[in-house]
């Protein structure tokens, strides 16, 4: 507790890194996942059901599998090796984006599908063009979509596999709350681990409070 109250520098640095990468990956995943979910739900194309099944399957993708996959692509001797991404915050962000795009996409997809076809028809009859119609439907699903983004953030802030494998747990640079906790546990130093655990739980609580708020709005 003393660490939290005294704003221990190392602890603050760790929390900052965690929030940095998690927020960045959530924002980018939202920018890709929301339009993707919208397109999949509204546009008819061959193998649409297959694509939806694929996204649902990807919800269960283990973080270590993503870690391995991205590692194989960005390690020094691989395709993207020249970019020198391995053990950087960017690497963590890339892995986390892959982790949560399926969450944002499937949640957006189900939010849009729940919007009655009459919303689209009403907007069209009022004179909306296709873009305006899409905007009206997206607005109608805004609470459910925001809830999806908040849930995605909750997923990345608490994951460890990707941070460990792609970030490398470098102090002050890629050490996140979860990797720091694992390290402290290994060293048998529980004080910082518990302090980090408390902060992580507080962030999770805040995320859930926000999530509940938006879910309530969405169903009301």
């Amino acid at each position: 507790m003393g660490l939290i109250i005294d704003f221990d520098l190392e602890l603050i640095e760790i929390v900052k890194v965690s929030l940095n990468v998690s927020l960045a990956s959530t924002v980018i995943a939202a920018m890709i996942g929301i339009p993707l979910g919208f397109i999949v739900s509204t546009v008819e194309f061959p193998f649409k059901r297959g694509v939806i099944t694929l996204f649902n399957t990807m919800l269960a993708l283990p973080t270590v599998v993503i870690g391995l996959f991205v590692y194989a692509l960005i390690s020094r001797n691989s395709v993207f090796g020249d970019f020198e991404l391995l053990y950087t915050q960017k690497a963590i962000i890339i892995g986390q984006i892959i982790l949560i795009i399926p969450i944002v996409t499937t949640f957006t997809l189900s939010a849009i599908s729940r919007i009655d076809a009459r919303y689209r028809k009403t907007a069209m009859s009022l004179g909306a063009n296709p873009f305006q119609t899409s905007l009206v439907v997206l607005k109608e699903a805004r609470f459910a979509i925001t809830a999806a983004v908040v849930a995605a953030f909750g997923r990345v802030i608490s994951e460890i596999g990707i941070c460990m494998m792609l970030g490398g747990n470098i102090s002050g640079y890629t050490r996140t709350m979860t990797t720091a906790m694992a390290l402290q546990y290994d060293k048998g130093e529980f004080v910082l681990a518990i302090a980090l655990g408390i902060i992580l739980l507080c962030i999770s609580l805040a995320v859930n409070v926000i999530l509940t708020y938006f879910q309530g709005k969405s169903s009301g």
Partner: protein
């Protein structure tokens, strides 16, 4: 002036033809009802008239201009035609923002929107709800706001799919009076679907009757479903426990029947014979069409009856009067 002219309009979904109209002319500034049984193609016709759906084939003119059924042209035409759904949708925001939407799509400047919105809400008696949350409104209020939202856009045509379905009598009458007011105050053409023939008659003498995707003469409006039964060597279609309609000979067991309104007659004789299948009922609606008078009779089922004006004058019929009615089996079609 002719507003819509439809020629050989057909709509097919997969192999099923849901609409097949050789010709239909609708004049500007009138109120029309669109009636017919479920599945007759009413909603499909409304979708085509509101340019939300392109027909499979056929030609159409709107305001004397030939209609091209491509997305851009239809979108342009939708600016002058608004369709109100049976259960209209208000978006989950304030009444004001809902009302503003159509104006925004029409690029009406922001400062000009409020007076238009206030006038439109005033027309439906909802001006006090301008800042209300649209999701908190009752069914009747939602429909009134939806009508105002449409009228704020000053459409040339207002199409409504069963505007009073599932509403209580008070709200039904209110919506009817709004429709009447709108029509009086603006040159808008109103086309609405209804199953309520009496309501249709109250609002307009212009009725379009659709049956199995085709525009028919109104003689097909008495449509019922029942089972065939034989009594005293004569065949009847039993619609309800008490209502038996005499029919031409058939070997069917269940059937749908339609009764021509002129085959439904007010009987001169009293219904003294308990074995007779004469029906008794009350007149609940009367309207005049050229040289004929149409009466709606509640005889356990709603029957539409058509008679010469001269006959109406002699019989001195009035609303709520009890009448005995006979049906000529020759005017009954089985299908």
């Amino acid at each position: 002036m002719t507003l819509y002219f439809l020629k050989n309009i057909r709509q097919q979904y997969a192999a099923r033809t849901v609409l097949d109209i050789p010709e239909l002319v609708l004049d500007a500034g009138r109120i029309y009802t669109l009636t017919g049984p479920n599945g007759a193609g009413k909603t499909t016709l409304l979708n085509i008239l509101s340019f939300l759906e392109a027909p499979t084939s056929g030609q159409m003119t709107f305001n004397s201009m030939s209609v091209t059924f491509n997305a851009a042209a239809m979108r342009q035409l939708r600016k002058s035609v608004i369709l109100l759904d049976q259960h209209p949708i208000l978006f989950s925001t304030s009444v004001y923002k809902n009302m503003e939407l159509g104006l925004k799509f029409r690029k009406i400047p922001r400062d000009k929107r409020e007076p238009i919105i206030r006038t439109a809400l005033n027309m439906v008696g909802m001006e006090g709800f301008i800042n209300a949350d649209a999701r908190r409104l009752s069914g009747g209020e939602t429909r009134r706001v939806a009508i105002a939202r449409a009228m704020a856009c000053k459409p040339a045509v207002l199409l409504m799919d069963e505007p009073t379905a599932d509403l209580d009598i008070e709200n039904q009458l209110r919506i009817e009076s709004i429709i009447r007011d709108i029509h009086r105050q603006s040159p808008v053409t109103i086309i609405f679907c209804t199953h309520n023939l009496v309501q249709g008659d109250r609002l307009t003498p212009h009725h379009i009757y659709l049956f199995a995707g085709q525009v028919r003469e109104s003689e097909h409006e008495n449509i019922f479903k029942g089972e065939i039964t034989t009594k005293n060597d004569r065949q009847y279609c039993r619609i309800t426990e008490k209502v038996l309609i005499p029919i031409p000979a058939t070997d069917k067991r269940d059937t749908k029947i339609s009764i021509r309104p002129d085959a439904v007659r007010v009987a001169d004789r009293k219904n003294t014979d308990p074995e007779s299948q004469m029906l008794s009922g009350n007149i609940i609606g009367l309207s005049s069409h050229k040289d004929r008078v149409r009466a709606i009779i509640d005889a356990g089922i709603l029957l539409s009856l058509s008679m010469e004006k001269s006959e109406y004058d002699i019989r001195n019929l009035r609303i709520n009067a009890s009448v005995n009615i006979e049906i000529d089996p020759g005017g009954v079609t089985l299908f």
